[in-house]
């Protein structure tokens, strides 16, 4: 469901936080979607349960997730129907900037950089299709 890389400079909690936020904002995780339990997610990715717990609590405070007594957490209904494009673009901006910066340092042409992004775009689509077909 999520792609977590513990051996990356970005703290695991932030990776998870950003992914759930993004997937909820884009509607990939529609409102009402149930999230795995803390234990389940921790075991699946072999990460500390407190990390998952912290992310769920932060996202609940932000209004992205909803907690239900004795039941799985769910994706909350966004206050506006769908998070506007501008808001979603704002979220991806720092990541794109990083890519652009790295591309310039490597002295790639704009065309090469865009091509690389397109390739990555297609590759992640295959990955997400593959993930969806796997039983939960």
């Amino acid at each position: 469901m999520f792609i977590l890389k513990p051996h990356s400079g970005v703290p695991i909690y932030r990776q998870l936080l950003d992914q759930i936020r993004r997937m909820a904002a884009s509607g990939q995780l529609p409102p009402g979607t149930e999230l795995p339990s803390i234990r389940e997610l921790a075991l699946r990715h072999a990460i500390n349960p407190m990390t998952v717990s912290k992310v769920y609590t932060l996202l609940e405070a932000e209004g992205v997730l909803e907690r239900h007594r004795g039941k799985p957490m769910t994706v909350a209904k966004p206050t506006r129907a769908q998070s506007p494009l501008a808001k979603r673009l704002e979220q991806i901006e720092p990541h794109v900037e990083q890519v652009a910066l790295a591309a310039r340092q490597l002295e790639l042409t704009e065309k090469d950089a865009v091509k690389a992004l397109q390739d990555a775009w297609e590759k992640t689509d295959e990955q997400s299709v593959h993930r969806r077909t796997r039983p939960r």
Binding site: V10, I47, L101
Partner: protein
Amino acid sequence: MSSPYIAAHGLGKSFSGKLVLADVSFTVEPGDVVGVLGKNGAGKTTLLELVLGFTPPTSGGVQLFGYDSYRLPGAAKARIGFVPQQDELVNQLTAADQIGVIASFYPKWDDELVVRLSREWEVDLGQRVKNMSVGQRQKLSILLGLGHKPDVLILDEPVASLDPVARRQFLEQIIEVAADGKRSVVFSSHIVSDVERLANKIWILKDRRMYWQGDFDSLKDSIVRVHARSTQPLPASLSILNALNVQRNGTTATATVQGWRAEMQDGLAQQLGAEIEVEQLTLEEIFLELHR
């Protein structure tokens, strides 16, 4: 907040006048998974042995469940699990008998758990300890530390001899222990990637002292590598606050900075008249930077 399981204040140890650990203070709360890092000889094993009460401190003290760890009552001892670096198995016994001996000390022994894990971990209970591989012995040793479901589990280099599959199984078991938030784990390891997955707190021992301790996430946020790139030569006396290591090469400079905060980026860019890029580091890189 509940009271900590472990609390140390100014803990120090000398062996025949030679200092092996100095002035260490920390707490471990229920639910914590603490990763202890340090080079060989940094004092990790001594620290764990002091917590366990195997040896009295030379200065300061450490309390377990509110008791002085060197004078721990039996009931409190039963709440601790320990997996030593060198296993203390009896060669002549079969794995099953070895488990039986340890189980007899604990009223709360969970035989079902131990049998299930020994099957999953492929530990042959009929085999004699002396015929086991190092990895098998280590697995058995871990089983013995888990069987009485301790509230505090302390492991000294538990995975050194385990293959990647066994290591993952071990990690999953630690997650099970930590999942209900009522038990704690303290483990030392050179396998930094395991610490990276599991620990919510990190202790870095260096030169017999606690060099850094705290929340793992804040460690990754506060120690970063900063790259500065300018169109003009950067000043020779590049003073970046709290820089551990600085490398300057004309118009570019790279520094590892401690105590970094995101809002410092703009100020630094102005101060140096340079473009600033902040690179986050893996735990292994942080560890290496702290030891340069």
